[in-house]
Structures are given as structure tokens and as C-alpha cells.
């Protein structure tokens, strides 16, 4: 019988939530790495027992962990992320130039076909790759060395490379997103990159349609349509159907188009999910009602999903890496909150229930669908 394993990164450790395919009765294991910030935990799609975790603390910086038994046991692997060459500078909050400084790994993206290969998106923004199971890391420096690099600037959460999408139909194509630089594409396996921001508009920029500077919060792809991407930007929900050559807004009837997460149904490439957040200054749901919004039309027409979610006095946030979908039939949707709840829906979002209610603030949620 199928099983699911939900990998949860929190401010104070990692948790593994497990259930059978009914997704009713859950086992909670953890905390792993208690007391450490776990920005992201993600398993290899080739070998689900191979899981990578990003562990960090204000005292001791970055540690990387790897499990080879599905998260039961872990071992530290390489934690050295050297920028290639002389790192140079990027724009700082006050407009001056500031040296690139490694701070932490935000996002891990295991290869689609090799369990030993994994990509890491880091702060200050750069992309690294390991081909030896995380023991050593090399920068794909064509990204950071792009001509626009000195114009990149940190968002409120730091200048983080937080999204990595690998094209399942073209092993040389990679999409990444950076707050607050924008979204970039490589068509040569990460050697060279270009911004793909045509159609994005950010009113906080001096030039709202500038090539870089957009605070992209998250992008998502359905593996059957890798040229179609969905984006939750600082404000605006966006869509492209030509691999980022042009974007158009699909915020439609959302109560607010600010938010962090966005994801795509596992079997319906035009069904997408967001969690609207009131504003950039008020990082909680509008009206104290925690609502997932679903569009079955690839955007523009959205319906609120509320069954089982708190509809009063709810003031949590849902951070950019804290939503995931499983590939069971019916598709399961999962998200975690800064209040420590992890909610699950086993019916594509129609109804929800908390798996756990009182974890530390949730930074990331991933799910593995196991045979």
C-alpha cells in the first residue's frame, strides 16, 4: 500500500510525519537536530531513502545532513560553500555595494535522475551543486556573475536563492528564483543564465518593469508542462507558458495577491494553490481566516478552501517553501504555518485537517509519495 512521508523543517528542528495512503492516521517523528534551524529537507526522487537537510544556527552557521534510510538516521556531510573566485559585490539595502557573504542554505533540490547530485540555493544568492551526495559543493558561478549581479539586493528575509526547478524534459534547463533579484533560466545545465522577467511589474522598483530587482517569492511547475510556470511574487500571482519568455498576471479574484507559497496539483496541471497573505506589512491571512485558494483554470478564477481551516482569529504566515503536494490519487496538499501547524488535505484541498498543531514555526514542507 502506498505511504506518504512529510518532511518538515522548523525554526527548532526537523520532523518526519508518516501515514499510509489514506492519510488519516499520522506518526510524528522528531525533533531531529533539535534546537537548530532547518530551512529545508528534501528527498531524492530517484532514491526516496536519500534525504538531504539544511541545518543552521546563529552560533555555528551552516551544517548539512544526509540520511540514507528515509530519515531514521542522519550524518553530517560537507558544509563548505565557497564562492567561485573573488565574490564581488551586490547592492545593499542603502544602495551601496556590499560583499557577497555566504549565510545559509535555503533550498535543496535533488537531481531528477542521480541520487548523488543535489543543488543548493543559498544566501547571499548563489547556486551550488554537489555530485557526491553532499560531501563537496561547487558553485555554478555563471549565475552570480551575471552582468546584473551588482544590482541584486536582499529582500526583508535576506538575499536568498529559494527556488530551484529542474526541467524533467530537458536536463540542461534549470529555473531559479531569488529575492529580490527575480527569476533566471539556464539552458546549458547551469553554466550561463539570463533573467526571464518580461511581464513582471513591481511598483517598489524605480523602474517597475526592470530586468532585475523583482521579489519573486516562489515558482512552481507541473512536470508534464515544463514550459508553464506559476509564480507567487511579492505582490501578484503570475503565469508563463513559454518558459519565462513572458509572464502575465493571473491574480484574478483573489482577496489579496500577496503571499509566499504556490503549488500545482499532481495530476491536474491547470489546478493551482496559493495562500493569500494580507500585505507586505501584515504577514497574516486577511480577516484572520486561513484560506487556501484553488484555481482549476490555471489562475484568474479562484475559490476559497476553508473546510477544516481556522476561520477566525488566525494570524499565522505560510512561508515560501512550506507547501507541497503528493502524487497519490486523490492528490494530497500540505502546508505548514509559522504557528507550528501542518495541515493536510487528502482530497485536493476540499477538506483539511491538522497533522500536528504545535511544532516550532514551520519553514518548509516537502512530501514523498512512497510505493
Amino acid at each position: 500500500m502506498s505511504k506518504v512521508r512529510v518532511l518538515v523543517g522548523t525554526r527548532k528542528g526537523a520532523f518526519v510525519l508518516s501515514a499510509d495512503g489514506k492519510r488519516k492516521n499520522w506518526t510524528v517523528d522528531g525533533p531531529y537536530f533539535a534546537g537548530w534551524e532547518i530551512y529545508h529537507v528534501k528527498g531524492s526522487p530517484v532514491n526516496p531513502d536519500r534525504i538531504y537537510a539544511s541545518q543552521s544556527s546563529g552560533w555555528s552557521g551552516q551544517v548539512m545532513q544526509r540520511s540514507d534510510d528515509g530519515g531514521k538516521t542522519w550524518n553530517p556531510v560537507g558544509n563548505q560553500f565557497p564562492y567561485d573566485g573573488i565574490p564581488g559585490t551586490h547592492q545593499w539595502y542603502d544602495g551601496t555595494q556590499h560583499p557577497w557573504e555566504f549565510k545559509r542554505v535555503w533550498h535543496l533540490e535533488p537531481s531528477l535522475n542521480d541520487p548523488e547530485t543535489v543543488y543548493a540555493g543559498v544566501e547571499d544568492a548563489a547556486l551550488f551543486r554537489s555530485s557526491d551526495g553532499g560531501q563537496t559543493w561547487s558553485e555554478l558561478s555563471g549565475l552570480r556573475n551575471h552582468d546584473t549581479g551588482p544590482k541584486w539586493q536582499p529582500g526583508a528575509g535576506g538575499m536568498c536563492l529559494h527556488t530551484i526547478l529542474l526541467d524533467p524534459s530537458d536536463p540542461k534547463r534549470i529555473f531559479i528564483a531569488i529575492s529580490a533579484a527575480g527569476v533566471f533560466r539556464s539552458d546549458d545545465a547551469g553554466s550561463t543564465w539570463r533573467p526571464i522577467t518580461r511581464g513582471l511589474k513591481s511598483n517598489f522598483l524605480p523602474d517597475p518593469t526592470a530586468e532585475v530587482g523583482h521579489c519573486v517569492h516562489r515558482i512552481a511547475m507541473h512536470r508534464s508542462r515544463p514550459e508553464t510556470l506559476f509564480m507567487q511574487k511579492h505582490w501578484d500571482v503570475m503565469r508563463t507558458d513559454d518558459a519565462g519568455e513572458s509572464w502575465h498576471e493571473v491574480s484574478g479574484n483573489l482577496p489579496t495577491d500577496f503571499g509566499f507559497v504556490i503549488d500545482v496539483h499532481a495530476h491536474e496541471p491547470e489546478t493551482i494553490y496559493v495562500v493569500p497573505i494580507k500585505s507586505d506589512g501584515e504577514h497574516f491571512p486577511p480577516d484572520g481566516k486561513l484560506r487556501v485558494f484553488r484555481s482549476r483554470t490555471g489562475g484568474n478564477e479562484w475559490e476559497p478552501l476553508t473546510a477544516g481551516l481556522p476561520q477566525e482569529n488566525c494570524y499565522v504566515n505560510v512561508l515560501r517553501d512550506a507547501m507541497a503536494v503528493d502524487s497519490l490519487d486523490a492528490c494530497g496538499i500540505y502546508f505548514g504555518t509559522t504557528g507550528g501547524q501542518v495541515y493536510a488535505s487528502a482530497d485536493g484541498g476540499d477538506t483539511w485537517a491538522p497533522i500536528v498543531r504545535d511544532l516550532p514555526a514551520v519553514l518548509s514542507v516537502e512530501v514523498q509519495t512512497l510505493a
Binding site: W59, S60, Q62
Partner: protein, 98 residues
Amino acid sequence: MIRVVLPSHLRKLVQIEDELTLAVEAPVTQRSVLDALEAAFPALRGTIRDYNTQQRRAFIRFFGCSEDLSHEAPDALLPDKVADGSEPFLIVGAIAGG
């Protein structure tokens, strides 16, 4: 033998419960102790000293014989009682974070 006490978050990382002992050849300095410590526990590399600069991380402190040794030069001799093992070399997480 040099006695070393790690902060709790690093004891968990390397899965030890108490203080540890290291063989360190003279001269016994911050650098020689930390080099020996990282050789014995490679997972500690980068967690006490920055990888690139080899400087003490900002929120890590070094204490010994009731003195703050954090601002001593890396190659300065540690107190005799730390060097002869009668007092431990304390690696401490500063009051920071949450």
C-alpha cells in the same frame, strides 16, 4: 591531554554527552586545540571558526580558567592549567539568537 567542553548544540552534532579529551602537541594554543578538535570531529569544521577566514564565529566564545580568551590571538599560548589538562577549554555559545 587537553580537556574541551563543547556547547550543547555542538555536542548534539557530534553525538557526545560530556567533555572530551584531545592530544595536542605543544605549544598549546587556540589554533592547535581547534585544529586537533576538527581533525577528530570533521563535522565541527566551519561551526566554530569561519571556513574562509579561520576567525572565531561571532557568537562563539572561548573561556578557560575563568577568563574570556575569545579575543586572544589564535597562536597565543593558552593558560598553563588548560595546557596541562587540569582545567578545561570551554567553547561557549554566546547569549544570542533564541
